[in-house]
């Protein structure tokens, strides 16, 4: 049996039929073609599939699509506006925070949520904010630097 899910993704309304067990990450990737959301483990351990759901960062592999009914979702494809990168995207690019790039969308979105809720973070806050998102390439140093850059420029 399939279930009807209505949700708003990156400002656009969608209505999708899904199986009860379909997760939000699979809905985004397979049904809506939003493959910027990467699936690194499917079990909520790596953070690569992070999206914003009603303004908060979630592992989209741990959210059932039916539970996203009525939700507002922002994926990495929804961050840039009119050809301008979001300041976090720009900072990740400029600071060398991207290597293979597979963790990048999740990392940027978790940082987005973090800075919105915590506009004046202390040094240790950065580490806590992204500690659920794994990166195997960068050693995180330039990722933290990029997020800090944005926080400081918005001060």
């Amino acid at each position: 049996m399939k279930h009807r899910v209505k949700l708003r993704v990156n400002g656009q309304d969608f209505e999708v039929l899904v199986k009860a067990k379909t997760t939000l990450v699979d809905l985004l990737r397979d049904e809506l073609g939003l493959t910027g959301t990467n699936k690194g483990c499917g079990t909520g351990e790596c953070g690569a599939c992070t999206v914003l759901m009603n303004g908060s960062a979630v592992n989209s592999c741990l959210v059932l699509a039916v539970d996203a009914d009525g939700a507002e979702i922002t994926t990495i494809e929804g961050l840039a506006h009119e050809g301008h990168l979001d300041p976090l995207q720009q900072a990740f690019v400029d600071q060398g925070a991207i290597q293979c790039g597979f963790c990048t969308p999740g990392m940027i979105l978790v940082a987005k949520d973090f800075l919105e809720k915590n506009p004046h973070p202390k040094d240790e806050d950065y580490q806590t904010a992204i500690s659920g998102n794994l990166c195997r390439c960068t050693g995180y140093i330039k990722i933290v630097k990029a997020i800090k850059k944005v926080a400081e420029s918005e001060r």
Partner: protein, 764 residues
């Protein structure tokens, strides 16, 4: 460096060329590819670590609606994979490990494919299995491959130089220890995924994250028994590699065979659990190490025997002693060396290459032994290293010809920044104990001739508008090579890196390259790109000389314009030169190719030969705090100084070193595949810990530029080096804090705590 100022592109920290598409979610990884009619592929794994296969019955599975193909060994020619040709992509008569491929399915969706796997009936006759390489070497152990007597892989790496016996007799101090290193995993953030698609003419397109597209094409053709010219390999964005994509693996062959049988494209993506269990891992190694010195610290000999768990089949894991040997023979000066190995088949998952190849393992044992030796000599560990330090223009016992060498500067810089003089003290008392340690590396920095060719091709095209395309044989796996190659090409041509489009991901377009491994791409592909650019530049200057009426020698290209060195008013934009030459009688276009294959040697059967044009050196230092009540090791600070030749792009270079550091910290403190009776018990990021941001200490990175004469603009390769000495530096710091030595990795709290308790019992 004085000439640094005149460069426009070299030494600039420009962002990665593909960073924006990765930051916006537009980058396409293999898992993102969707072709019309594409099916989902799944593999049925063995139920036993060692068994005869009596029967495979796929009939029920084939009848399930939505299933388009089920394959077993019967659907393939009896071909085998790997360096020793011992690994059938699908196992027909025998399984030798739990990650063995028994059958595979292509279906309309994942659910159907999984359901079909459950419907394939396999009858096994279990056989006795062996999981410990030392047990596998004993008489009467279950034999895993008929031809491998005593389970010994016929690959054997042995080296001998000087007279170890005499040197031992003449030594004032001799130490001997056994080390044990763990199975570890690459943990690329993207699980392995590939797509196979056949056309009506029998041509196969593979979308693969391979690091070696041309060797892959050759090997895949051989196993599918079709000409290589029928295979096109397209490399989408690669979500991490680290040596884990250096071979052709069964899943990619299976994907191609499924697609052929189904007559539809197939995508085969591993789950994270499969990613932990199935692709080859860095294997466990047991090392017996004996080493001696004179009273004054002069090293006298090193005698090393290693036992490697090869697992059930032979991939590149079996060849890691080739590189493990380098630090043993060549890191610090030592004239008398013996190195020997036993590479042993077991019923564990098979072993593969990983960042640094055997060097992190080799460096760990060499550098831990250096510290223990210093202690026995009553000598400062830094002083011992400086006394035996490598030097420029030295030839090491294996015949490796050092050109530039910044090791002394690296050692001194790290010691200074660690405050070695004050912090390297006698072990402390109390609950929280601090210590410092350091370790260096010696690694290939100018390619590595491990195949008959270590070459890379490049084509540079300049179009009518002055836009440049570099078509390089090399591959981008996230390390930033395409950006660095654009910078090198731009510098040579007198344009800007942003003027360059790099094409590097399609075997039907790009020229041959051996692959991205051995930290070789900046050096080898960089020299190739530079040579091709130089050839185009000659053509441009020749035409410009006709147009401007100036001698070619008096012309230069800078900032996208040809100008006369004598009369700066005489200039022409590159695009204009090209258009003039193009739209005239006997017109021409501007393109050139180069193939750079360095004049190096393959090592001979005795492991001698200069395999690289230059060698990279560096030192890492760690300050740690050990909690003696919990066994927890906290890193307070890491410092690393690296002889990089020349930093083409300091930001991306630092990124490699920082990433390497984090992988090294994982090796030192966190990572271990727990393998019991051939089964990986921790196949998830919850149970197999890689460093998170919280595991990263404050780190200082120092670049030492030695301007290597053979490197493109002086650069050496560095992508692996950041991870090589980390575990040794941390291990040495922990020993300094505790006052005794641990001989295994990782330094998990329970390991450290047990060791503390053992020493307390002994009254140390």
């Amino acid at each position: 460096m004085s000439d640094k100022k005149r460069y426009t592109n070299i030494g600039q920290s420009i962002p990665k060329l593909d960073a924006v598409e990765k930051a916006t979610g537009k980058a396409v990884y293999p898992q993102d590819i969707k072709l019309p009619g594409m099916l989902c592929g799944k593999i049925l794994w063995s139920k036993h670590p060692h068994a005869e296969i009596l029967e495979i019955d796929p009939n029920e599975a084939e009848k399930l609606p939505g299933v388009k193909a089920v394959i077993t060994a019967k659907d393939m020619a009896p071909t085998r994979l790997g360096f020793a040709q011992d690994n059938p992509p699908l196992k027909g008569d025998r399984v030798r490990s739990l990650r063995d491929e028994v059958a595979a399915v292509a279906a309309v969706d994942e659910d159907t494919a999984e359901q079909a796997l459950e419907m394939i009936k396999v009858k096994y006759k279990p056989l006795p299995a062996v999981f410990d390489p030392e047990e596998a070497m004993r008489d009467g152990a279950p034999q895993i491959h008929a031809k491998a007597e005593g389970n010994r892989n016929k690959l054997h790496y042995a080296f001998e130089e000087g007279d170890v016996k005499a040197a031992k007799a003449e030594s004032d101090v001799v130490i001997k220890h056994r080390f044990k290193l763990p199975w570890v995993k690459h943990c690329c953030l993207a699980p392995h995924s590939c797509v196979a698609s056949w056309d009506e003419n029998g041509k196969l397109t593979m979308y693969s994250p391979t690091q070696v597209p041309f060797l892959y094409q050759r090997d895949l053709a051989k196993v599918l028994q079709i000409p290589p010219s029928l295979i096109r390999v397209i490399q989408p964005k690669i979500g991490g590699a680290f040596g884990g994509k250096l071979d052709l693996y069964p899943n990619e062959v299976i994907c191609a065979v499924l697609a052929k049988k189904a007559g539809q494209p197939v995508k085969l993506t591993y789950t994270r659990e499969e990613e932990f269990k199935c692709p080859p891992s860095r294997q466990t190694v047991i090392v017996d190490f004996e080493m001696g010195a004179k009273k004054d610290g002069t090293l006298t000999f090193r005698d090393v025997f290693s036992i490697l768990d090869n697992g059930a089949y032979t991939s590149w894991g079996a060849t890691i002693p080739y590189v493990m040997m380098h630090p043993v023979t060549s890191l610090y000066k030592c004239k008398n060396i013996r190195f020997d190995t036993a590479i042993i088949y077991t019923n564990n998952m098979y072993s593969g290459a990983m960042r640094g190849y055997g060097n992190p393992q080799g460096t760990f044992v060499v550098e831990r032994m250096m510290d223990i030796l210093a202690e026995k000599l009553g000598m400062d560990a830094l002083e011992l290293r400086l006394k035996n330090c490598n030097q420029p223009h030295e030839v090491t016992p294996q015949g490796l010809k050092v050109t530039t060498c910044g090791l002394r500067e690296c050692l001194e810089t790290v010691a200074e920044r660690l405050d070695w003089k004050n912090k390297r003290r006698r072990p402390q008392k109390g609950t929280l104990r601090r210590g410092v340690g350091l370790a260096s590396y010696f690694h290939v920095g100018g390619g590595a001739r491990v195949y008959r060719s270590d070459g890379c091709g490049a084509i540079v095209k300049v179009d009518d508008y002055g836009h440049v395309t570099l078509i390089t044989g090399s591959t981008e796996i996230g390390t930033g090579t395409e950006t660095v190659l654009a910078q090198i090409t731009a510098e040579e041509l007198g344009v800007r890196a942003e003027d360059i489009t790099v094409i590097n991901n399609d075997t039907s377009i790009k020229p041959w390259d051996v692959g991205i491994h051995a930290s070789r791409t900046t050096f080898i592909a960089g020299n190739a790109a530079r040579q091709a650019a130089a050839k185009v530049k000659v053509k441009i200057l020749k035409t410009a000389s006709e147009l401007l009426g100036e001698s070619e020698d008096d012309l230069e290209i800078n900032d996208r314009k040809v100008y006369s060195k004598k009369n700066s008013a005489k200039t022409l934009e590159i695009g204009k030169v090209i258009r003039r030459a193009h739209f005239r009688e006997h017109g021409q276009t501007f393109m050139a190719e180069a193939f750079y294959d360095p004049p190096t040697e393959m090592e001979d059967k005795d492991c001698r030969g200069n395999i690289s044009m230059t060698y990279g050196f560096g030192t890492q230092g760690a300050e740690v705090e050990v909690d003696t009540e919990t066994g927890q090791v906290r890193i307070l600070k890491m410092v690393t100084a690296n002889d990089v030749g020349r930093a083409i792009n300091p930001m991306l270079l630092e990124g490699q070193l920082e990433g390497g550091l984090s992988m090294g910290i994982g090796y030192a403190l966190l990572e271990k595949l727990v393998v019991e009776k051939g089964e990986v018990l921790n196949p998830s990021f919850l149970d197999y810990k890689i460093p998170t941001v919280k595991d990263m200490p404050p780190s200082e990175i120092v670049l030492v530029e030695t301007d290597d004469p053979a490197g493109p603009y002086g650069a050496k390769g560095i992508a692996e080096s950041g991870t090589i000495p980390t575990a040794a530096a941390i291990g040495n710091a922990v020993a300094n804090a505790l006052g005794f030595h641990l001989f295994e990795l990782p330094l998990h709290p329970e390991v450290v705590l047990k060791s503390i308790k053992d020493h307390q019992v002994k009254g140390d």
